[in-house]
């Protein structure tokens, strides 16, 4: 594809996260702690028309090779996403997402009576049961990932 046709330009080195469900791109940034404070260029495209999905989001992070532990979080948040590691404009790794054991800080517990929803200084920790179900480490409730809200 010609550079002029690309919504966001190619990156020389870094990580490309593609096929993010439309509208979840910002959640992904939050989950991966990508805030631009390290000075790297971050390109985000939201609601891009896609052949596979109606709409998708794309994130490109220049000069940063995301660790596998980080990208595995996406297996729960955006399971259809793909992660490519780019070096010198070439895809050197198509990373398979595998389920992490835990997801820390990203989701609020859906149980309003859970200690994590109080004023205590406490991070949410979700144990991953499967792709659709998480378990709050504290109140032990089983939670449907699609019904959870991001912090």
């Amino acid at each position: 594809m010609k550079e002029a046709n690309l919504l966001v330009r190619r990156i020389k080195n870094g990580t490309v996260i593609d096929h993010i469900d439309g509208g979840k791109g910002l959640h992904v940034l939050h989950a991966l702690d990508i805030d631009g404070k390290d000075g790297n260029v971050i390109m985000i495209a939201l609601n891009v028309l896609s052949q596979k999905f109606e709409k998708k989001d794309i994130i490109k992070v220049e000069n940063k090779f995301l660790k596998e532990d980080d990208t595995n979080k996406l297996a729960v948040i955006v399971p259809k996403a793909t992660v490519n590691i780019i070096k010198n404009f070439n895809v050197v790794e198509k990373r398979c997402l595998s389920l992490p054991d835990q997801i820390i800080r990203i989701f609020s517990c859906g149980n309003p009576n859970c200690i994590t929803n109080s004023n205590e200084n406490i991070e949410t920790v979700m144990n991953v049961v499967d792709k659709k179900m998480l378990q709050c480490k504290y109140c032990k409730r089983i939670l449907d990932v699609n019904k959870l809200t991001c912090i």
Partner: protein, 312 residues
């Protein structure tokens, strides 16, 4: 014998295996049969932190600690710095400096798990929100074993408020270690929260019903629970289900000859006082066992040698 409880927290029944229960039951048997107090906790202090009302749990823990030669200190939300806005985390950190072991009752689910992370000393969950009440389950199962001579094979009905009753969830997790049949009897609006028994649903044989009468002649244990008025957001909803199940003399007449009635107490109108003299009524015995099962737990957590001391 290995003491698996030494210096461990007890925040959830999920952490207990069948072998753990059996060890607790054996030690409890010894404590009761020796008719003696012990010195295994001499010089040790139990910190009781109760942010919700309690009679049996608090006093049985205190009594158990005294039985083992230890001391207790107590803090309640009314008299503590939480009234000034101090967090639970800070409160736990402070009390753990003054105690060797802590028992916490708190209205929020997951509070004891959090407290265990904040504390430098072992934490026992004395009731956390609508989540769990592990030490109640130890005494419930001990009572079943003692009064029915077994747990495997029992047909057990849990009746009443299955949605908000924390003892229910701990009991189900405890029973998942045994081969039992469970009847969950409740009004439609107070059915069990399936998201809280997800891990054990397949392990347990469960039958759900709104009618207790249909099963009375089949049951070995009727575990009655109070409708938890204080946990209803809408008080009208409470009055709709209040008094749904009353284990009165007419019900008792239909029970199997050797079946028993248990209740974690306090009771309201679900068991009339004239049932107390029935041979089936074991809820006061159950409350009494609470002191000894808690003594077994405290002794095992505090003193590694307790398991051997008590066997000799």
């Amino acid at each position: 014998m290995v003491n698996r409880f030494f210096e461990r927290n007890l925040t959830s029944v999920r952490d207990l295996t069948r072998a753990d229960f059996e060890l607790l039951f054996n030690v409890t048997d010894k404590i009761i049969s020796h008719h003696a107090t012990y010195d295994v906790c001499r010089g040790k202090t139990l910190g009781c932190i109760f942010f919700e009302p309690s009679t049996r749990t608090r006093l049985s823990f205190e009594s158990a600690m005294l039985h083992l030669g230890g001391n207790t200190i107590e803090i309640s939300s009314i008299l503590s710095s939480t009234q000034k806005g101090e967090s639970l985390g800070d409160t736990i950190k402070i009390i753990s400096l003054y105690s060797d072991i802590l028992v916490l009752r708190h209205p929020l689910d997951g509070s004891s798990k959090f407290a265990a992370e904040m504390s430098t000393k072992p934490i026992i969950n004395g009731g956390s929100g609508t989540e769990e009440h592990p030490t109640q389950t130890i005494q419930d199962l001990y009572t079943m074993k003692k009064e029915m001579k077994k747990i495997d094979g029992l047909k057990i009905a849990i009746v009443g408020d299955l949605k908000y009753g924390r003892t229910v969830y701990s009991l189900l997790y405890g029973l998942s270690n045994y081969d039992v049949t469970i009847y969950l009897i409740s009004p439609e609006s107070l059915k069990i929260r399936t998201d809280s028994i997800y891990e054990i649903k397949k392990k347990l044989q469960i039958l759900e019903s709104t009618r207790l009468d249909d099963h009375l002649d089949d049951l070995d244990v009727i575990y009655v629970t109070r409708i938890q008025k204080e946990r209803f957001q809408d008080k009208e909803e409470y009055f709709k289900v209040k008094g749904s199940y009353t284990i009165d003399k007419n019900v008792v007449k239909k029970m199997k000859r050797k079946s028993i009635i248990l209740h974690p107490l306090p009771r309201l109108d679900e068991i009339p006082h004239n049932v107390d003299r029935s041979i089936h009524a074991k809820y006061f015995k159950q409350a009494e066992y609470g002191k000894y099962t808690r003594a077994a737990l405290l002794g095992l957590i505090i003193n590694n040698g307790f398991v051997n001391d008590i066997s000799s």
